[in-house]
Structures are given as C-alpha cells and as structure tokens.
C-alpha cells in the first residue's frame, strides 16, 4: 500500500515538473495587449451598409525615448540592446476587429526599406476596391524595389476559418529624408486601406519584407510576436 502510494506520488511529482515547465515557458506566449478598432459609424459597401471601424497603426525603425518598444514578454528574445534596433508596429500587434464590418486601417510609416524578394507582395490585395491610398493617392501596388514593409493578413491553417487575405505593401522612406530629433522622418508615409470582415475568427498577420536580423533578415523582429507580426481577432 505504501509503495502504491509513493508510486502515485512519483507520478504526481512528474506531472508537476511537466506542468511547471509548461507554465514557465508558456509565459513567453503572451501577446501584447490587444487594440480594438473603433466603430465610427456606418458605411456603404459592395455588400450593403455595414458598420465602419477604424484603426491607426505606426511603423518605427527602432525604439527611442519618445517611442517605447513593444511591451511583450518573450523569454527567448534577443538582448534588449539588440532589440532596440528592431523595427516594429505600434501601439499593438494584437488587433481586434468587428465582424461583418468595413474596417479602415491607417498606417503611418517611418522606416526605410529596399527590394522585396517576391514582387507579388508589392501589390494591394484583399481591399474593398483592390486599392489603397498612399499619401492621398490611390494605388493598386508600389514599386517592388522601394518597399518598406507589408501588412499581410493570412488564414490560420484550420480549414474551418472564414476566408480573409489582405496584403498591403508599405513604401519605404528615402535615406535622405529629413528627420526629427529622434531620427524619424519628419514627413512619414501614410497608407489607408479598407476591407470587409466576415464571420468571427482568428487570423495572423505579418510583414513580408525581410526587415529582420539573421535568417536572411526573417529573424529577430520577424520572429518575435509583438514586433512585425501578430494576431487579428474578428469578434
């Protein structure tokens, strides 16, 4: 009886060790606090009149005293000094959008860029009329040699997800653009685009431009949640 009891106790200890390890490392799975798109009214769309929500995002080339880095806890992240040089989306990469709505996102882009590997990703895909507004000018794509980043929403692999795919190329700022005291361009690009959400669901989005470090520039911020990738939750 005593042996049986101790045998069970051993199993319990084993479960605690595994559970503790899961808890220790799963802490790194935390996403930044979500940011929700604000419903600002109704809008006419090809699918009829739908609620209209808006969301503002910015892309910075690095953090500074004026712009703090993403507040994410990742136990495997690079050292703080290295990550200060990483580009990131702000104020959050964890986005909440209303279902069956027209969503307009405005991205203010302060970063530089270069040539994207796959020119397809320099095209606008998945918006209401297949275009986006770049500094007030309507376009269906940009030059693949002058891409700064992209904002690309993907399906989760689960086959039951409602379809949603959006790709917005974000143009680079020139190397000689005038900058402010923190080194950010004084006159950043502003990109505005709208798309329609369907049923509630979970999606992921990321930048497709090789703006990271290592892994031929898909490492570093491109690997860490909270910098150049995140989640889209349609609620």
């Amino acid at each position: 009886m005593k042996r049986a009891l101790f045998t069970v106790l051993s199993v319990v200890i084993g479960v605690l060790v595994v559970g503790g390890s899961v808890a220790l490392f799963s802490a790194g799975a935390q996403e930044p606090d979500p940011i929700a798109a604000k419903v600002v009214g109704k809008a006419k769309t090809p699918q009829g009149e739908l609620p209209h929500a808006e969301l503002d995002l910015s892309i910075y080339p690095n953090s500074s005293p004026a712009v703090p880095p993403p507040a994410v806890s990742d136990r495997l992240a690079q050292s703080e000094s290295e990550s200060q040089q990483w580009p990131f989306y702000t104020p959050s990469t964890n986005l909440e959008l209303p279902a069956h709505s027209l969503v307009t996102i405005r991205i203010t882009q302060y970063d530089s860029g270069g040539q994207i590997y796959n020119p397809y990703l320099a095209k606008v895909v998945g918006t209401v009329d297949g275009s986006a507004t770049y500094d007030g000018e309507k376009k269906t794509g940009i030059d693949p040699n002058t891409v700064g980043h992209t904002f690309t929403i993907h399906q989760f692999p689960e086959s039951t997800q409602p379809y949603l795919y959006v790709n917005i190329p974000v143009p680079m700022n020139g190397a000689n653009a005038p900058t402010d005291a923190n080194g950010y361009p004084k006159d950043p690009h502003v990109i505005e685009f709208s798309f329609i959400t369907g049923e509630p669901g979970q999606y992921i989005w990321n930048c497709e431009f090789p703006c990271g470090t290592g892994y031929v520039f898909f490492g570093g911020p491109m690997q860490q949640r909270g910098w150049m990738s995140g989640t889209v939750t349609v609620v």
């Binding site: 080339p61 690095n62 860029g113 270069g114 520039f217």
Partner: protein, 221 residues
C-alpha cells in the same frame, strides 16, 4: 631491446610489465590517430568540396591573392625533419643509448616549436582575410588545425625530453618515446595532405558556377 627478458620493468600503478602497458598504449595512439584523421579528412573534404563547387563564383579570394605555397612546404619540411630526428632518438634509446634520445628529442622539440611559430606567422600574414572567400576560410582552417597539431606535438616531444632526462624514459622503459614519435609521424602526414591540397587545388575546375543572384540584401530599417 637490450633489457633482460627475465627481469622486465613493471608498471608501478598496475604491476604489469611496461611492455604490456606499451602495447596497450600503442593501440590507443593508433585509435587517436584514426579519430584525428577523421577530423582532418573533414577539413580536406570541406576544402575539396568548396573548391569543386565554386558556389556563386566565391571560391577564389576576392583580391586574387592566394596563399604562397612555399610556406606550407617549409613547415612540412621542418616537421618531417623533426619527426626523423625523433625517430632517430627512439632508435637510439631502443638500442640502449638514452643520451641519443635526449639530444634528438631536444632538437626535435625546438624544431617543432619553430614550425609552430612559423605556422602562427603564416596565419597572421596570409594575404587575405578569413571571410574573403571559401578558399580563404578553408585554407585558414587547414593552417589553424596544423598550428594546433604543432602546439600539441611540440609539448609532447618536450615532455619526452623532460621524462628522458628524469629517467622516466630510458633503455629499460623506452616505449613512450615511440608512441610520441608515432603521433608526430601522423602530424607530418596531416600537414603534408594540407600542403598538397592547398598547392594543387587553387583555381576551381567549375568555371561556370551557379549564381544565386544576391544574398546580400541591404540590411534595412
């Protein structure tokens, strides 16, 4: 061997005749040589593989300066002379002349030390950076491996000098000197292989290598 078979020297730690221990150690040295040879072959495979592929046209040094051959061969020559000296000393001690080993091993260790310094000098004065091309990387590592071999070899031969002078290696217990000589012989072979590769395999035979566009995207942001 000059010692009397009826009264062999015994190992103080195991009580066995030192000749028995020496046979065991000889197999150990052979196996160490096999293992070290596998490592050296890995380096030679790396050299020959990159030479034959010339990936992205990146085999030849960017500034066109190959490593001078004479230095590799000078080091090999020095090592071979040191090795021959040591073997001469080993033969002397097996023939009953301990002083012969002291003199030969002293000269051998000094020569190996000189070759080690020469090897370091070669590494420091290569007409290229290690990062210049795959040739420069492979050549650098062949030389580095030889420097490691030489440092170890010169220490071992110096130990032979020390131990012979202290009477630990002598006419009735000469075996360790032969084990070290076996190891030094292998080091010469390894250095020779390196010299042959770096001399004979310079321009890649692949004159139309695959080009992968550019892997040097500007590091943006």
């Amino acid at each position: 061997m000059s010692t009397a078979a009826a009264d062999p020297v015994l190992s103080p730690t195991t009580g066995e005749p030192v000749a028995v221990v020496a046979r065991r150690n000889r197999l150990g040295i052979w196996l160490c040589i096999v293992s070290d040879a596998a490592g050296t072959v890995s380096l030679l495979i790396a050299y020959a593989y990159l030479w034959s592929l010339n990936v992205n046209g990146g085999w030849a040094p960017k500034k066109g300066a190959w490593a001078p051959d004479w230095l590799f061969w000078a080091i090999v020559l020095g090592m071979v002379v040191a090795c021959a000296l040591l073997w001469w000393g080993v033969k002397s001690v097996f023939a009953g002349h301990r002083e012969g080993l002291v003199v030969a091993a002293t000269l051998s260790s000094l020569l190996l030390l000189a070759m080690f310094i020469l090897q370091i000098w070669q590494l420091a004065t290569f007409p290229f950076d290690i990062s210049e091309s795959s040739y420069t990387s492979a050549t650098f590592w062949l030389a580095l491996s030889n420097a490691f071999h030489l440092s170890l070899g010169s220490l071992l031969v110096l130990a032979v000098v020390n131990r012979t002078r202290a009477g630990k290696i002598g006419v009735d217990n000469p075996f360790q000197s032969r084990l070290v000589a076996m190891w030094i012989t292998w080091l010469c072979a390894a250095a020779l292989l390196g010299a042959i590769f770096t001399t004979a395999m310079k321009d890649s035979p692949n004159t139309d290598p695959p080009a992968f566009q550019s892997f040097t995207q500007p590091h943006t942001s």
